[in-house]
Symmetry: C2
Subunit: 110 residues, 2 copies
Amino acid sequence: MTADEIAELKPEVPDWQLLERDGIARLERSSPSRASPTRWPSPNRVGALAEEEGHHPALLTEWGRVTVTWWTHKIRGLHRNDFIMAAKTDALAAESGHATRAEIPEGRAP
Amino acid sequence: MTADEIAELKPEVPDWQLLERDGIARLERSSPSRASPTRWPSPNRVGALAEEEGHHPALLTEWGRVTVTWWTHKIRGLHRNDFIMAAKTDALAAESGHATRAEIPEGRAP
């Protein structure tokens, strides 16, 4: 993907951080810390999604915090598919029955 | 633990790497890569062990490779218990029904 293509897709996954590690661009998102309410799918649900799609993230579980990182090995960088997988991970979080930013109608907060 | 205590216990877990990250001493071991036969417990089994013992490692799953890292948050370093947890992780791997180094009698190889 070109920088323009990345800039175009990034707003679709606002909660993900675009970062470079070992010279490879990646999309990463962490759950809130253990003390906060869970708004993030379990490692098992992300693992099941990865199996279904045949595309595997790095999945770090550490003291109750889960970090998911998507990138594409073969191209050593980001592919459109990584943005799709990030959005699908967000959708799993929403399915968990916890409110996500997208579900809270703006302007209707108490 | 003092450096002497660490040096005394380290031989008990020969397959673990002693490393320092963010100024914190840790014990770390990775499974063989995806292509190799699995000789390492699944993240779920390590997670279950952690729950039982009330002590949680960092657990990284990445393209079929599982990396387990033990250290003790509270003391920002290694406690004897981390060596025990490393040995218990090895025992889980052995239970998985795969040969481990300890199970192969030396001098009897074909």
